[in-house]
Symmetry: C2
């Protein structure tokens, strides 16, 4: 005789789809911040010896897709923040949009079970899939906010932080 | 006859305890950034017409405990970013530490089921418990990163972003 038991539904604090939407929402805002820069200042303006925003954006591009890809595919490569194709605002925005699609694509292959798996991100940074992805998102917020100060300093109103 | 069925364990993308640790880790870093400022510059230094970091920290204090308290207790009050007691670095750090304990206390009363409940944060901002808490964390990262530019501009090395 078979018995039927009601299976307890997992109550998620955040679903995987919500975490992807959260990340892509931030990436949409970062795109607007890139757009807000004049071409020259995007590549050259800096404060206090920090990197120009274009160089920080190369770092974000170097982390997002390669970081997620290594989680999903399981093949690790060293972090390479030098992206020669990112040589104009228009090219950076095209790379950004292409990364948006690739993130969606790789994310769809990431199961909930994997978030607590231990990994060595870029062969160097030990953590879980979860802590790595949170770090990638936080790191983007961190550098984008520095660009807000650059823009204000240039007399340019940055996009509202709550716009996604 | 009793039958034993293995109940499927809910697979969490992030647990509530992990989200709290994530927030408190960021708050620990923000505390170090407050400490890194000289007293006078904490209250007065600014770039591009932005607020001094002390004023941003008042906003963070005004959001963290009151924002979490209204979620847990269910009583809404308007956002009040004016905190007269935050009049020295030492007093701000004491308020920060007291908020750390209060956050832990309120968080322990927050059940997983509540994260997807719709709320009107501070009587004004519609969202879910989850989207509100994520916003509070992101907003802290956002303003703290602006303080990194302030520190660099003052010739002060800020704490490493990955330190928590």
């Amino acid at each position: 005789m078979e018995t039927t038991t009601l299976e307890k539904q997992p109550v998620q604090v955040i679903t995987s789809a919500e975490m992807l939407a959260h990340w892509q929402g931030h990436r949409k805002l970062t795109r607007k911040v890139i757009e807000a820069f004049p071409e020259k200042e995007f590549f050259e303006f800096s404060i206090g010896g920090m990197r120009p925003f274009a160089t920080m954006v190369q770092e974000l591009l170097a982390i997002a897709v390669p970081g997620l890809k290594e989680i999903v595919v399981g093949k690790t490569e060293a972090l390479n923040e030098h992206i020669p194709a990112a040589d104009s605002k228009a090219n950076v925005l095209a790379l950004w949009d292409s990364a948006t699609d690739e993130i969606n694509n790789y994310w769809s292959q990431l199961s909930d079970e994997r978030f607590h798996e231990t990994i060595m991100a870029f062969g160097m940074y030990e953590g879980t899939v979860l802590s790595s992805i949170l770090y990638y998102i936080d790191n983007e917020i961190h550098h984008r906010s520095q660009a807000y100060v650059y823009l204000r300093s240039l007399g340019i109103e940055p996009p509202a932080f709550w716009e996604r």
